[in-house]
């Protein structure tokens, strides 16, 4: 059914439905895979290890697309990203890796900037995403407002 809402996550009419623990467990598996591999890309010193981390991040994203009932997109993600873009990047790594004089390790002030900007991104954006009551998002538990942080009638696009 083209355009059908996710049976595993969202029920008919966009209302969040309870389909038991399986989709939730799968979500946490894929989310941990995606986010963990994403940060391993940031932390890896060896560029090949970063490429492997990117591989797992992209595969985890594909799983999240499946949970959101976007099967075609998940397949395209696997074929185009994992099968095409990532191979291209690995080829680039192989063609440019012979430079023994260069040291690609991050400098100290770069790490400090990365931590500062990371915190400045995650804290306000995360708070916004959890607190906002999105206009048009299914009201019966489908919106981020279910987390309860958005009390007091505060809404971004409401």
């Amino acid at each position: 059914m083209i355009g059908g809402l996710a049976e595993t996550v969202v029920g008919a009419g966009g209302v969040a439905a309870d389909y038991g623990p399986v989709p939730v467990v799968l979500f946490y598996v894929f989310a941990a895979m995606t986010v963990g591999a994403g940060f391993s890309v940031a932390l890896a010193r060896n560029i090949v290890r970063a490429a492997v981390g990117l591989l797992f991040a992209l595969v985890g994203m594909s799983g999240l697309y499946f949970l959101l009932h976007a099967e075609y997109l998940a397949a395209v993600q696997l074929v185009v990203y994992v099968g095409g873009t990532l191979i291209l990047i690995v080829f680039g790594v192989m063609l440019t890796s012979k430079s023994p004089t260069t040291n690609y390790d991050a400098k100290r002030y770069e790490v400090v900037w990365a931590v500062v900007i990371g915190v400045l991104l995650v804290v306000p954006l995360g708070w916004l995403m959890l607190a906002a009551r999105w206009h048009g998002v299914s009201a019966a538990g489908g919106g981020g407002g279910e987390f309860g942080a958005g009390g007091g009638g505060w809404g971004v696009l409401d």
């Binding site: 809402l5 990117l54 999240l64 993600q77 990203y81 680039g92």
Partner: protein, 103 residues
């Protein structure tokens, strides 16, 4: 147990942060390219999640995410061509060595 939009948006936020941190920390040009890929994926996840939770029966967000994937593939090809030229000229892909245009 119910999955909400907030679950997917938090994954997107964390992935965006990982991508930005990657772009700041890496001096290897290909590493920066990987950070860009992570950021693009975070944006695409946002589009698909809002589409699944907000707009019954429509797939506009998925089409947008498809465009994101295609543009990311094209961008990786162009960026790698530039990086290989950079490597031919400087025998390294340390982005801090690309200072030829400095006055």
């Amino acid at each position: 147990m119910v999955l909400t939009l907030g679950h997917f948006l938090m994954v997107s936020v964390l992935l965006l942060a990982a991508g930005v941190i990657t772009m700041i920390v890496k001096r290897n040009a290909i590493g920066i390219l990987m950070g860009i890929e992570l950021i693009l994926n975070a944006g695409a996840l946002n589009l698909v999640a809002f589409n699944a939770f907000g707009f019954g029966g429509k797939i506009d967000g998925q089409i947008f995410a498809l465009f994101v994937i295609v543009i990311a593939a094209a961008e990786a090809a162009v960026a790698l061509a530039i990086i290989l030229n950079f490597y031919n000229n400087f025998a390294s892909i340390d982005v801090e060595k690309g200072t030829s245009l400095k006055g």
